[in-house]
C-alpha cells in the first residue's frame, strides 16, 4: 500500500552529465539510426548544435540515479508489483553532449482505486530537468501502478 502522506514530497536535486557514448548506446539499442543522433555533422546540417538527445533519452538519469527506486521505497511499493502505466514528456530545450542537467523529483499525486483488474494504487511522479544555464530543458511525468492483491 503506497503511503499517501508522501504526496507532495520533493527530493534533493541530483546532477547528470550528458555523455555522447551513452546517448549513442541508447539509440543503437532501440535501432534508431537517424543520423542526427549519431553524427555531429549530420546534426549540424539539420540545424542542431551537436547530436541532440533522442526523445526518450531522459529515461537514463531517472534509472541510473535510482530515482524511481527511491520513490518506490518511500511509498513502500513492492517493485515486483509495480507497473509503468504512463510516461509523459514535455520538451523545452534540446539536450546535447556535455550538458550538465539538474533533476528535481517530486511525488505529484498518490491515489487508490478499485476497478475490474482489482485494487491498485497509482503514483504520479515528476522530474524537472534544468541545464547548466538554469533553463528548464525537460519535464517527465511518470505514472506508476502498484497492484494490490
Amino acid at each position: 500500500m503506497a503511503a499517501k502522506s508522501m504526496c507532495g514530497k520533493e527530493y534533493e536535486p541530483f546532477t547528470w552529465l550528458v555523455e555522447r557514448g551513452k546517448m549513442r548506446e541508447l539509440v543503437q539499442s532501440i535501432g534508431d539510426n537517424n543520423p542526427i543522433y549519431l553524427d555531429r555533422l549530420s546534426a549540424k546540417e539539420a540545424g542542431y548544435q551537436d547530436t541532440p538527445a533522442s526523445s526518450t533519452y531522459i529515461t537514463l538519469p531517472g534509472m541510473w540515479m535510482k530515482v524511481i527506486g527511491r520513490v518506490a521505497k518511500d511509498l513502500n511499493i513492492k517493485l515486483h508489483r509495480m507497473l509503468h502505466g504512463e510516461q509523459n514528456y514535455e520538451y523545452f530545450q534540446e539536450i546535447y553532449p556535455g550538458d550538465v542537467l539538474t533533476g528535481r523529483a517530486k511525488i505529484v499525486a498518490v491515489e487508490g482505486k478499485s476497478c475490474k483488474a482489482g485494487d491498485m494504487d497509482i503514483v504520479r511522479m515528476q522530474i524537472a530537468y534544468t541545464n547548466q544555464r538554469n533553463e528548464l530543458a525537460l519535464k517527465v511525468t511518470s505514472v506508476l501502478v502498484e497492484r494490490l492483491d
Binding site: 543503437q28 542526427i36 540545424g47 526523445s55 502505466g85 510516461q87 514528456y89 534540446e94
Partner: protein, 141 residues
Amino acid sequence: MNDSQPGFDNLMVGGEMHKLVKAPVTHKQLVKYSGASGDFNPIHTDPEVGRAAGTGLIAHGMLIMGFAGQAITDWLPKKYLRKFSVRFVGMARPGDVVTVTGKVKEKIRVPSQRILCEITAKNQKDEVLVTGVFEAEFPNE
C-alpha cells in the same frame, strides 16, 4: 530517417505519419537496452525470471516508447517535438514485430503552428502495446 519531412501546410487532419515497422525484438536487444537505460529488472533479460513470472521475457515499455519516438523523429524534425506521452497497454516479447502508426488529430494555427497527433505501437497480431499522443510546433515562416 525519411528525407521528405512534411511542412505544416502539407499536413491534413486525419493524415497519417510515416509507418515504422521494426525488426523483430531480440533478447540481445533487451540486454542492450537494459545496459543503455539502466533498467536492470530481470524480467526483461533473465529467461528463468520470465518463466517464474509466467510471462516469459518481456520488453521494456520504454523500449517500445523508444520505437514510437523513432517513428516521430523519422517523420518530423526532433526540434519540433514539444510533448510526447504514452500509456503502456500491452507487453512485447522477443520475436515480436512492432509497427508504429499515427495520424494528425488537430492543426492549430495561432499563437503558433502546431499539430496534435495520436500514435500507436502494435505487435504482429495487431494487439496494442502502446498508445499515445504527441505535439509538434512548426516554426513560423
